[in-house]
Structure formats: structure tokens, C-alpha cells
């Protein structure tokens, strides 16, 4: 990361702050059974799905919003949120030329020239704009291999048996407050199915974006990797600048069967709010993967730089023997951002292994918490876990917190956890400075080095973006 880049990113306000004016087809604000029925009918869903949504809604009514995360924010009025918003024009595009140019323009601004990127980088992008999937590229090529990559609604229509089988099987609607809410009102999302033995030839990617004002975004992603298959999925997010808080409560479910591998990477850069902490996205996400098969593997990598509040614990259920779970995270909070993020590794099968590498960076008045659970069940013989949680503090008004929970019921398991908190060392800075590297470059080198273990887990395209996003307002933070 060069000084220029730091300056560029440090001085920039929120670059992705713009609103595309497209007429939205939204239901009235508020949530009741009629709203859910309306969403379901607008999406022409089968009766079982409506029933499923209503069950989730009725359960949600019995729950209270969780108070335990180490984040502070005013209570959310769930009745003032619009639960469904789809771009008004909803034709089925047969080519890019037919797509609303304004939409394309939005993607241009986001730096996602779809077709170009798709062709050059070999990335198929299922672009989610607010709630309805607009177009899916590379579908045919994927289809040749039997890979299903579509919007969630489309999957409900075309592969109901797969959706019905796996929906809610990893994150049931009873899981938590926001998962229940999502289950009741989820608008759209992505669906991926990789057939047995297939190695997905390209990185699958989707861009989430919150657009219409006061619209909660409730994505639902389901990825199923059948026996012996492999898939790498990228999720990247930016959102337009807003004055009021926006709620994002997504659910991501991953299922890996025997010998399958899923790699899920996220770069999240939603609007974090202004300097006084006004506005900004509430990011309350439930992400969980189930390693159901033997020797299956699920790997989460995330770079969290945006959102006013992040509340997110990508987890892995290690059910199959010899299955592997990984969690690599960089979380950056600056200004008044608050993040409470981490993971859960639940070891059930024998010889299961998990690795947790979490790097938290706090600057300004940011508050960064790592919260993680490693649980080894009675039968998880020879389970192995290694966790490392490091925090870097830039400035004297920020905070870094670590809440690891280690629960072990098997004497053959081995669990190691270590955490450190420090600022950039004066001796490290001095070492670099006396070799002729200026202060800013030295700091950026040290920050980059601090995150290296995580960044190198990202696919190439994302690593570049992630490094850019890490270009924070380092100026004046240290020294």
C-alpha cells in the first residue's frame, strides 16, 4: 500500500455514497402476516415457502433483540422498515443491452463493469440490486457442468426440491432474532449447487447493495457443495450514503457433503456513518456452514471495513469426521464504528480441525470485539483447534476487546488460543524510519503486515480491493 493510496483513501469521504434513482416497487413499511403474504405472492412463491416464512415470523414475535453483543445503538423500530423493494421494471433480460442503463451505471460507479470483469477475470456475477436478481452471467457455462448458480427466487421456482431440502437446515428459523426475521421476510439472494465431483471452474461472485431508503436488506444465500465438489464464492458489498440507519440482516447457509470444499470470501464496505456516528448500516448477519460429510472443508474469509455496527459470526459445524473449518478475519473500525465479530467452531466429528485467525484494527473511536466459541463435543476425539486473535490500536480513544469461549469435553482434543493487543511499536516504526521510510509508509507497511495472514487467504481480485479498503485514515492516528 503506497502513501498515495493511503492519502487517497484517508481523504475520501464515502466514495460509494450515491443513490440510483430507479422506481422501486416497495410494500408499505411495517411487518405483519399480510406483509409476508404480500412478499411471498409478489415473488410467486409456492405455498410451502409462505408457510415456512409465517412459521419463522410467529417465532420471531416471541423473541427479543439480543442485548449481549458489545455494541451500542438505539433500538430498532421494526415497524418502520420497508421489508420488500424491487426495481419496478422487472423484465427477463436476454442480453446486457436490455438492462436498464441506470443499473449498469451503478455498477460502473461501484467499479464492477460486469461483462468486462466477467470476461477478463472469469468471474460470474449474480448481481443483486436491492432485492431482486437482475441478471446472471456465465450461467450457461456453469450449467454445462451441472452447476446451479441463480437468484434465490429462481431456485425456488426451478429447483424447489433442493431449496426445500436445504433451506433452514443449517440456520433454522429458530436460531436467533435476526435469523428468524430474515426467514420471515427474506427478499432474495443467491443459490449455488455444485454437483458431485465438480470443481467450479470460476470464482462465483455477487455484489450486494442496499439502495432504496428505509429498505432493510434481507438476503438469503444457500450454497450446497455435493460430494467431492469445490467452490469459491465471493461476496462484496458497498452501499450508498444515507442519513438514517439501514438494517441488513442476511442469512448465509453453506452445506458441504463428503470431500466437498467451500470457500466463502467477503469484503464488506457498507456506509459506516459520518464522523458523529450518524447514519450507517447495521449489519446483523447470521452465517453458518455445515461440514456434513467426511473430509469436507468450509473456509470463511472476511474483510470488514464498513457498517456502523457489525454483528456477525461466520461459523462452522464440523459434523463429518476429518472435516475442517477455517475463519480468517480482518475487522477495521474507525470513526464511531462498532464491530462485534468472530466465529463459532463446533467440533462434533472425530479428527475435526479448525483454525481461527482474527485481526482487529481500531482507530478513532472505533470499538472492535472478537467473540468466538470453540466447542469440542464429547465424541469429537482428536479434535484440534488453533485460534489467534490480535488487535491493533491506533489512537487513544478506540477499544479492542476479546471474548473467546473455549469449551472442551474430550480429553484427546487440543485447543490453543492466544490473543495480543498492542499499538504499532515505537521500535518497529523507528526501525523502518531509520531505513529511510517515511512515517506514513512505515505505518501502512506495519498495518499490512499485521493483516497479511488473512489477506493472503483472499482470492486475487478481492485481495486488491481489500488492501484498498484497509487504506484508512491512518494520518494522525499514531505518532
Amino acid at each position: 500500500m503506497s502513501t498515495k493510496l493511503i492519502e487517497e483513501t484517508a481523504q475520501q469521504e464515502y466514495r460509494w455514497g450515491f443513490v440510483t434513482e430507479i422506481e422501486s416497487d416497495a410494500v408499505p413499511a411495517g411487518l405483519n402476516e399480510q406483509t409476508i403474504a404480500l412478499i411471498s405472492s409478489k415473488k410467486q412463491e409456492p405455498p410451502w415457502l409462505l408457510e415456512w416464512r409465517l412459521r419463522a415470523y410467529r417465532h420471531w414475535l416471541t423473541l427479543r433483540a439480543p442485548q449481549w453483543p458489545n455494541v451500542r445503538y438505539p433500538a430498532i423500530d421494526f415497524q418502520s422498515i420497508v421489508y420488500y423493494s424491487a426495481p419496478r421494471q422487472q423484465p427477463r433480460y436476454s442480453s446486457w443491452d436490455e438492462v436498464d442503463p441506470k443499473l449498469l451505471e451503478t455498477y460502473e460507479k461501484l467499479g464492477v463493469p460486469l461483462e468486462e470483469r466477467a470476461m477478463l477475470a472469469g468471474v460470474a456475477v449474480d448481481a443483486v440490486f436491492d432485492s431482486v436478481s437482475v441478471t446472471t452471467t456465465f450461467k450457461d457455462e456453469l450449467a454445462k457442468q451441472g452447476i446451479l448458480f441463480s437468484s434465490f427466487s429462481e431456485a425456488v421456482r426451478e429447483h424447489p426440491e433442493l431449496v426445500q431440502r436445504y433451506l433452514g437446515s443449517v440456520v433454522p428459523h429458530t436460531d436467533n432474532f435476526y435469523a428468524a426475521l430474515n426467514s420471515a421476510v427474506f427478499s432474495d439472494g443467491s443459490f449455488v449447487y455444485i454437483p458431485p465431483g465438480v470443481r467450479c471452474p470460476m470464482e462465483l461472485s455477487t455484489y450486494f447493495r442496499i439502495n432504496a431508503a428505509r429498505t432493510g436488506q434481507f438476503e438469503r444465500t444457500l450454497i450446497v457443495a455435493d460430494r467431492g465438489s469445490h467452490v469459491s464464492y465471493l461476496e462484496g458489498c458497498t452501499a450508498p450514503q444515507r442519513d438514517e440507519h439501514q438494517l441488513h440482516a442476511a442469512v448465509v447457509e453453506l452445506v458441504a457433503l463428503d470431500d466437498a470444499e467451500i470457500k466463502y470470501s467477503t469484503v464488506q464496505n457498507w456506509y459506516p456513518g459520518d464522523e458523529q456516528g450518524r447514519g450507517g448500516v447495521y449489519n446483523f448477519v447470521t452465517k453458518r456452514g455445515a461440514c456434513r460429510g467426511v473430509r469436507s472443508k468450509i473456509s470463511w474469509t472476511q474483510v470488514e471495513t464498513g457498517s456502523a455496527i457489525t454483528w456477525k459470526y461466520p461459523s462452522v459445524l464440523l459434523l463429518g469426521d476429518h472435516s475442517v473449518g477455517e475463519f480468517y478475519s480482518v475487522a477495521l473500525t474507525k470513526g464511531r464504528q462498532q464491530a462485534d465479530t468472530g466465529t463459532k467452531m463446533l467440533h462434533v466429528g472425530r479428527h475435526t480441525r479448525s483454525t481461527i485467525i482474527s485481526k482487529g484494527i481500531s482507530a478513532g473511536e472505533g470499538q472492535n470485539s472478537y467473540r468466538g466459541l470453540v466447542r469440542v463435543q464429547r465424541g469429537a476425539a482428536h479434535a484440534r483447534n488453533f485460534s489467534q486473535c490480535d488487535s491493533l490500536l491506533l489512537g487513544d480513544r478506540c477499544g479492542a476487546h476479546t471474548f473467546p469461549y473455549l469449551e472442551c469435553k474430550n480429553p484427546t482434543a487440543q485447543i490453543e488460543h492466544e490473543a495480543t493487543t498492542s499499538k504499532i511499536g515505537d521500535d518497529q516504526l523507528f526501525y523502518l524510519r531509520q531505513r529511510g521510510i517515511d512515517q506514513e509508509n512505515a505505518i501502512s507497511m506495519l498495518v499490512n503486515g499485521f493483516c497479511k495472514d488473512v489477506l493472503r487467504e483472499l482470492p486475487m481480485e478481492f485481495a486488491v480491493e481489500a488492501q484498498k479498503l484497509l487504506g484508512i485514515s491512518l494520518e494522525g492516528s499514531v505518532g
Binding site: 464429547r378 491506533l394 487513544d396 477499544g399 472442551c408 488460543h417 493487543t421
Partner: protein
């Protein structure tokens, strides 16, 4: 009035009609306040984060009666058998102090080692200033319970500059008379500036009462003056059916040093809540602990190190050995407040699981609000090193003995930190006996 309020009020009323000597009015007020606090918040439940892994509510809700006064007035021979002969000793039987401190004939001027009840009767000036005045202690429900209802405890006072060469020993014993009853203890230890104090708080059952199911709830306050040094050893060898609840809270002034060592070897359910507040610059704390649980024992160690001021240092090392169907809990919280720059805080927790039915829950926790700090923690859960085992076996040591030796080596790291040889040997032999080791010499 709720059931809890009724029960506690009744106990409190019984206390004032128990015929104890009158206590100062300010103490009555503070006890009343503690009672009100406890009634308002209720017993801790496992829904609370601090009590997540240890559910004491069912036990406390049973409304156990207070233990009666023991039939003795002077300490019986068995009471001091396990003690340190050179120490200044106070003996408590079922929550009542028996006689004045022994070995206290030639104490320096101003030093007090006596029962809390006696100090209250004298209205010792330090009591009013320090007793039940620490907010962190008041916030603990079990400490509030003890404040409200304890009839006695220990009071140790060291005036400025006094270095007490001999340790103070508090032998807290339970007899058959405490069966199905509650024993409360409330203690205050004060070391004025530049003084030095070592206190051994030892909990055990009388020889004929090892199987008695009683509940001991103790709360100990420590005040460590500027540049003073206090060592507190909490040794728990309660009976196999006993519940042992202990709260220890220290406030440390500038450049003071606190050493806390906890050793849990007995009890059916043990919960220790140990905290220190580094309230002035330059203070240092060392918190160490060992817990060795088997059978169906449940041992929970909760520690809080509150770095309030700059340039303080803390180090913490807790080790757990879990056998049988035992459960061990470690929760170590290190809090570094915004002004506590140049903090150096280190924490480690290592746990050894010896059986397929044992459980360990470990939660090392850092909450840091200052940037110029060095804080780290490490936690491990595992088993004996296979290579070390192989090394011993290759030298003709059978597997059982090799395992015991390695387990002993793991435990000895903490026991070795006890500076009193007689005590160290006692603890070592208790652990070695449980491991089936004999003939090892301990220095």
C-alpha cells in the same frame, strides 16, 4: 415481598436477636444496603454472563439455614494441625471466631489481627473508612449476601511502614453442625502504605466432617496502600459434598504489589470470584491459581483485573486439572480503562483433561480502551504430551506413573510459588496423593 426478600429479611431479623454484641450504626446501615442490593437483583442465574457455566441459583433458593454457633470456645487440636506453626492464627469454626489470635503476643504497635466482630465492638477507625466500601465488591451478589448476613470474619490491620515477618493464617473450618446449613464469613485486610502482609486463608472440613454438605460463603476485602505489599493465599480443601463460594476483592494504591494465589483441591461446587482494582499508577498484581477436580466436582474461577490507572502491570496464570466427570471453569477478565496507558497485562490459562467425562470451559477475556498497552492472553486445553510420556516409558516407568509424574509437573508450577515451605509440602503431598504418587521430595 418476594420469597427471596422474605427469606433474607427473616435471617437478618434473626441475626439482630442472636445475642451478638452490638455493632456500630454505620455498619447496620451498610448491611441493610447490601441486603437491599441483593434483594433487588436476586440470586445470580446461569442466564447471566458471569454465571453462565455455574448455576448456583437452585442451591441458594433452597433457603439453607444459618449454621449454629459451635459448641467450642477454644480451637481444638485438629484445627491447627494442618496450619503453619509460625503463623499468627485465627481459627473460625462454622463461621465463628474461636478465641483471640494465637502467636500474636509480640505484634508491633498498632497491628491488629482479630475477629471482625471484636473490631466492630471496638469500632476500629479503619473499619468505618474501609469496610464494605469497594463498589466492585458490592456489585457481587454473593459478597453482598455475606456483608448482609455474616456474623464474623477476620480483621487484619497493618499501620504504615510495618513489615509483618510472619504470615497471618485464617483457618476456616466446618463441622458436622454445619450440615445442610450456610456458613458466612466477612473479612477485611488492610495494609497501610509501605507495609507488608501475607495472609493464608485456608478452608477445610473438620476431620469427622469431610462428607458434610454445607455451604460456605466468604467475602474478603483487601486494601493495599501505596507501596505496600500484600500476598493472599486462598487454599480450599473443603469436604467432598461442600459448596465453597468465595469473593476476594482488592483495591491497590500507587506502586503497591498484590500476590493472589488460589489453590482448589476440594469441595463439590466451588466458585471463586477474585478481583483487583489497580486504582493508582504503578501498581502490580500477580494472580495465580491451581484447580484439581475429580469425581463430580465443579470448580469455577472468575478473575477480574481492572487496570484503572497508567503504568500498572498484571500477570495471571491459572492451571486446571480435570479428572472423572469434573467440570472446570476459568473466566479471566482484564479490563484496561482509557487512562490506563503503559499497561502491561499478561494472562494464561492451561487446562489438562485427564478423562473422557471431564469438561473444561475457559474464557480469557480482554477489554481494552487504551492504545499504549501490551496485553496478551493464552489459553490451552489438552492432554499430556505424547512425547514426554514416551520418554518416561522408554526409561522403564509404567504408563500410570508416567502420567502421574507429568500431571504433577504441570501442577507443581503453581504450588512452587507458595513461599512457605510447610504449606508447600502439604499442598504438594495432597496433590501427589491424589495422583497416587509417593516418595517424591518437595522442596
Amino acid at each position: 415481598m418476594t420469597e427471596l426478600a422474605q427469606q433474607l429479611r427473616a435471617e437478618r431479623a434473626a441475626l439482630s436477636s442472636a445475642g451478638d454484641p452490638p455493632v456500630p450504626g454505620w455498619w447496620e446501615e451498610r448491611r441493610e444496603q447490601a441486603l437491599a442490593t441483593l434483594i433487588a437483583r436476586g440470586w445470580p442465574t446461569s442466564a447471566e454472563e458471569d454465571w453462565k457455566y455455574t448455576n448456583v441459583a437452585p442451591l441458594l433458593q433452597r433457603g439453607l439455614a444459618r449454621a449454629p454457633a459451635p459448641p467450642l470456645t477454644t480451637p481444638p487440636a485438629w484445627a491447627t494441625r494442618d496450619g503453619l506453626p509460625e503463623a499468627i492464627t485465627l481459627v473460625f469454626v462454622d463461621g465463628h471466631c474461636l478465641g483471640p489470635a494465637s502467636g500474636a503476643a509480640d505484634l508491633p504497635n498498632g497491628v491488629r489481627v482479630c475477629s471482625l466482630r471484636q473490631a466492630l465492638a471496638e469500632d476500629h477507625p479503619a473499619l468505618r473508612a474501609q469496610l464494605a466500601q469497594q463498589p466492585a465488591l458490592a456489585a457481587q451478589p454473593l459478597a453482598a449476601w455475606s456483608t448482609a448476613l455474616a456474623r464474623d470474619g477476620a480483621f487484619v490491620y497493618l499501620p504504615q511502614g510495618v513489615v509483618l515477618a510472619r504470615p497471618v493464617q485464617l483457618l476456616c473450618l466446618t463441622t458436622r453442625g454445619a450440615a445442610e446449613r450456610v456458613v458466612q464469613l466477612r473479612s477485611l485486610l488492610i495494609a497501610e502504605p509501605t507495609s507488608e502482609l501475607a495472609v493464608i486463608e485456608s478452608h477445610a472440613a473438620a476431620p469427622d466432617a469431610a462428607d458434610v454438605a454445607c455451604l460456605v460463603n466468604s467475602a474478603t476485602e483487601l486494601v493495599v496502600g501505596a507501596n505496600a505489599s500484600v500476598a493472599h493465599y486462598l487454599l480450599q480443601r473443603a469436604g467432598q459434598a461442600a459448596t465453597q463460594l468465595a469473593t476476594v476483592q482488592a483495591t491497590q494504591h500507587a506502586d503497591s504489589r498484590l500476590t493472589s494465589l488460589t489453590c482448589v483441591l476440594g469441595g463439590a461446587l466451588v466458585r471463586n470470584t477474585i478481583g483487583t482494582r489497580l486504582a493508582a499508577p504503578g501498581a502490580q498484581s500477580t494472580l495465580d491459581g491451581l484447580f484439581f477436580a475429580g469425581g463430580r466436582q465443579h470448580v469455577d474461577n472468575h478473575t477480574t483485573i481492572d487496570h484503572e490507572q497508567p503504568r500498572c502491570a498484571s500477570s495471571e496464570c491459572y492451571k486446571g486439572i480435570l479428572d472423572g466427570a469434573a467440570t472446570g471453569v476459568f473466566n479471566g477478565k482484564v479490563l484496561v480503562r482509557p487512562q490506563a496507558q503503559q499497561t502491561d497485562a499478561r494472562q494464561s490459562n492451561h487446562n489438562l483433561l485427564l478423562s473422557a467425562t471431564a469438561t473444561v470451559n475457559s474464557k480469557p477475556q480482554l477489554e481494552i480502551f487504551a492504545d499504549d498497552v501490551k496485553c496478551s492472553h493464552g489459553a490451552t486445553i489438552g492432554q499430556l504430551d505424547a512425547e514426554a510420556l514416551f520418554y518416561l516409558r522408554a526409561r522403564g516407568i509404567d504408563e500410570g506413573a508416567a502420567r502421574s509424574l507429568l500431571t504433577w509437573a504441570f501442577a507443581s508450577e503453581v504450588i512452587e510459588r507458595v513461599p512457605f515451605a510447610a504449606l508447600r509440602r502439604q499442598l504438594a503431598s495432597t496433590v501427589q496423593q491424589r495422583l497416587g504418587l509417593s516418595g517424591l521430595t518437595t522442596t
